[in-house]
């Protein structure tokens, strides 16, 4: 595969896609649609030379080179040229291009979902009686062969938070790098957050929902401090199964965040209140009306992940939806992330969402950070993901131009140090019919 990559990267994009498609189809007819992607071996040495590099820590370097060894970024060089690249290293020429950390999908079902309306293709949800399913860990069900992975990856999505759904607390969020077909490598961390949902989730009432969450957190505390009493069956009934409460210990310890989908102002404030009461790290997803309480959110240090295009009063919990939500939050000092929420098939459109936020007042660099660095931070993954600082996982994209613009496209996508083939089940379907049409 490596010489194919070299050929590809030396040429224009169009040749790249088609030539790889042909080669792969010829060699792996039985696995059409599953390009072999895996993380780079330790001795792989790659230089992405001369691009405008968004490092992800606030720095934007106009002519910089990212040096990658194995799966990690080892250095960012300025004033570096193709001639400087060691002869045994791979070169990706990024001059005139824009290099960013890979896009990270927040609150996705990647790897757990193939077709939304077909239950046999879905594993996001543990459907049981209990509304508290914090112990549910879907990482073991993540399917590295899912077609959705590469379809997002070729458009620059390199990592994702994979969240379960259903209930008040749905379970544990896994962190993946989008290496389609890499069954052993795809899960980077199985449990980086616990995910849940406010609103009318419990007993048809927002107040009941908040009360149930409070009781759950209280009982998790009780279980942690009186575990031996529980073992001796000397404890009153708890709000949930012990395994589901134990899964909340890292949340109570502040080691991992609690990510809550919430939209109405009253829910956002209640969530902030609970986070203070239990001293937990809170991330809000959705946040349709977050701009109304932006000062409270800024003061509480809560990261809010929004979908900027959602500007309609689609329900009575989001009457305050507006296009300037992201910009207003940002101006108030809230760390704002951007995502496509609730459409795992199009996680790839996060950059368009970021572009929409940018056209409604969010600074462009903040919009890029909102789909990369801020999402990593939201899930506590900033030590390994979301930026191109030395020591971080080498997940990055070489864009043909402004990463937020519709005319731009990834010319190279590197995941865990390895440039992935820019083909997907969709590109293969396309090429089948393109060839027929051209032949006519």
């Amino acid at each position: 595969m490596s010489n194919i990559h070299t050929t590809i990267l030396g040429r224009g994009l169009r040749l790249l896609t088609l030539s790889v498609a042909c080669v792969t189809a010829a060699t792996h007819p039985a696995h059409a649609g599953s390009p072999d992607t895996r993380e780079a071996p330790a001795d792989a040495h790659v230089f992405v030379v001369g691009g405008m590099v968004h490092v992800g820590d606030g720095q934007i370097l106009s002519n910089a080179t990212v040096e990658i060894q194995g799966t990690k970024v080892v250095a960012i060089h300025e004033a570096y040229t193709l001639a400087n690249v060691p002869s045994d290293a791979r070169t990706i020429d990024a001059s005139g291009k824009v290099v960013t950390p890979g896009i990270i999908g927040a609150d996705t079902s990647l790897g757990l979902l193939e077709i939304e309306m077909e239950a046999s293709t879905r594993d996001q949800s543990r459907s049981d009686e209990s509304i508290v399913r914090a112990g549910y860990q879907p990482s073991t069900a993540i399917n590295a062969d899912s077609s959705l992975l590469q379809i997002q990856a070729v458009e620059g999505v390199t990592s994702a938070a994979v969240a379960p759904s259903g209930g008040l607390l749905s379970g544990q969020v896994a962190w993946i790098d989008l290496l389609q077909g890499a069954h052993e490598d795809i899960v980077f961390a199985p449990s980086v957050a616990v995910d849940g949902r406010l609103g009318q989730t419990v007993a048809g009432s927002r107040a009941a929902t908040i009360a149930a969450l409070r009781k759950t957190l209280q009982d998790a505390r009780v279980l942690r401090s009186r575990g031996s009493a529980y073992e001796r069956r000397q404890l009153r009934d708890l709000a949930a199964d012990a395994a589901d409460l134990e899964a909340l210990f890292p949340v109570l310890d502040g080691k991992i965040p609690l990510t809550l989908t919430a939209n109405r102002t009253s829910d956002l404030l209640a969530a902030v209140g609970l986070a203070k009461e239990f001293n937990i790290k809170l991330v809000l997803l959705g946040g349709a009306e977050a701009w109304k309480v932006r000062d409270v959110l800024a003061e509480a240090g809560v990261i809010v992940v929004v979908q900027p295009s959602s500007n309609l009063p689609q329900s009575f919990e989001s009457l305050g939806s507006r296009l300037e939500n992201a910009a207003l939050l940002y101006e108030a000092g809230v760390k704002v992330g951007i995502a496509v929420l609730g459409d795992t098939h199009n996680v790839r459109n996060a950059r368009q969402e970021a572009g929409i936020a940018a056209s409604y007042g969010l600074p462009r660099d903040a919009a890029i950070a909102a789909v990369t660095q801020v999402i990593a931070e939201a899930y506590g993954m900033q030590e390994s993901h979301g930026s191109l600082q030395p020591g971080k996982i080498a997940n990055l994209v070489v864009w043909s131009g402004d990463p937020l613009e519709l005319s731009s496209w990834p010319e190279a996508v590197i995941i865990r140090g390895a440039p992935i083939p820019l083909i997907s089940r969709q590109s293969k379907l396309r090429d089948r019919y393109l060839e027929r049409l051209r032949a006519q």
Partner: protein
Amino acid sequence: MTTTARIVRTLGLAATVATFACAPTQSSTTAPGELAPAPPRTTSTPLTPPVRAGASVLVQGGRVMTATGVILDEGDVLVVDGIIQEVGENLSAPEGVTIVDARGKTVTPGLIDTHSHMGVYASPGLRAHSDGNEAVAPTTPYARAQDGYWPQDPQIPWAVAGGVTAAQILPGSANLIGGRSTVVKFYPHVRSAAAAHFPGAPDGMKMACGENPKRVYGDKGGPQTRMGNVAGHRQAFEDGKNYLRTLRQYEEEVEKYARGEREEAPEPIERNFGLETIAGVIDGDIFVHNHCYRADEMLIMMSLAKEYGFTIRSFHHAVEAYKIAPELAAAGTAVSIWADWWGFKAEAFDGIRENAALVFLGGARPIIHSDSAIGIQRLNQEAAKAMYAGRRIGVEISEDDALRWITSNAAWALGVEDVAGTLSAGKMGDVVIWNTTPFSVYAKAEQVFIEGTLVYDRSDPARQPSTDFSVGWDLSSTEGGNER
């Protein structure tokens, strides 16, 4: 001015002729007064839009994208009394005509969406606002979107802010035949579907293939399978054909009576609103808009249409259209598609970004539609994504081509191509001024004109999206004084 008036009159006349084309006896006989007239077969209740005086405006100096193949780098668009009088360079404004400076901006026709449920699935998405699927039986051709359309849906002015000036409002896809669609223009101050009606636009008939009717009726007596779907479609057209035959026989008897060839007036036939709709389709007065995803199903539906003597005007969603582009081209059937929605159900699993581009390459007529009150606000961006996806694989698509996907092709699918969809003399003065090329993520409609009237102005607080519903939630807002 004179051109203008003629166009409007021609349009009105054409509509009138179309209305009665299928009932020649109406105009050719002098039937006795007691005779029941033959039931009409097009718009079942005539919609009379209020008389509106179109405004006049000269949009000057912008990059004018006409959607006719011509782009003027610095051009003018002159609208007089609501109708485009001239598109060209260095035009001068007749006295009293407002001049709008569009230098540095891009000017396009108003965008047209062939697929919207605004008004019948309004926001907030309350149960009480669910007026788009008459899901009581798989075939409800008597239902009409115009009767469920809430012109105060707060979603509508946001579509206008996205440069959209007209749309087809469709019943949903729960049913094999969901009923009649209606084409609307987003005129301001509208309080009825009649007032919103696109003058002269024919009704559509919404049909659906595939998973939705199966899912909705599988446990309610069927259809439960695609076999049942097609059988239901065929039966409906058979019934429509028979109704049409009965109608024609009646018309013949009426003529005989008028000529004195029979003594008693014929017994009037019972009017059937649903069969009238289907008969209108067979006669070509009502356009079929067919929700259909898979290539095989589209081929079946095209063959069924051929069997009953009509053409499907547009498939909708059609995520597999790229697989049958030559067949679509041969049939003269357009496809209204998304740029990138896919995978939410099995029949949408083979969606690709290049769908529009491959349809275009195959010589058929692509249209980018929204089916979404969020998506309709950015039809231009959706078209951009589809255009760039095509260019990346080497399909030559100009900006003018892609613009047609959201203007003139859509106008054609809705039967209003003679009066809308391009910036050409004689067409309605529906004009959008953009801050930049519409094919950018940073593109915003700055001013939107419908028939020469400024209906949206991004910089004017008095012309922001607002409906009755949106008033009064935020008491610090000044909203409320500008009735829309």
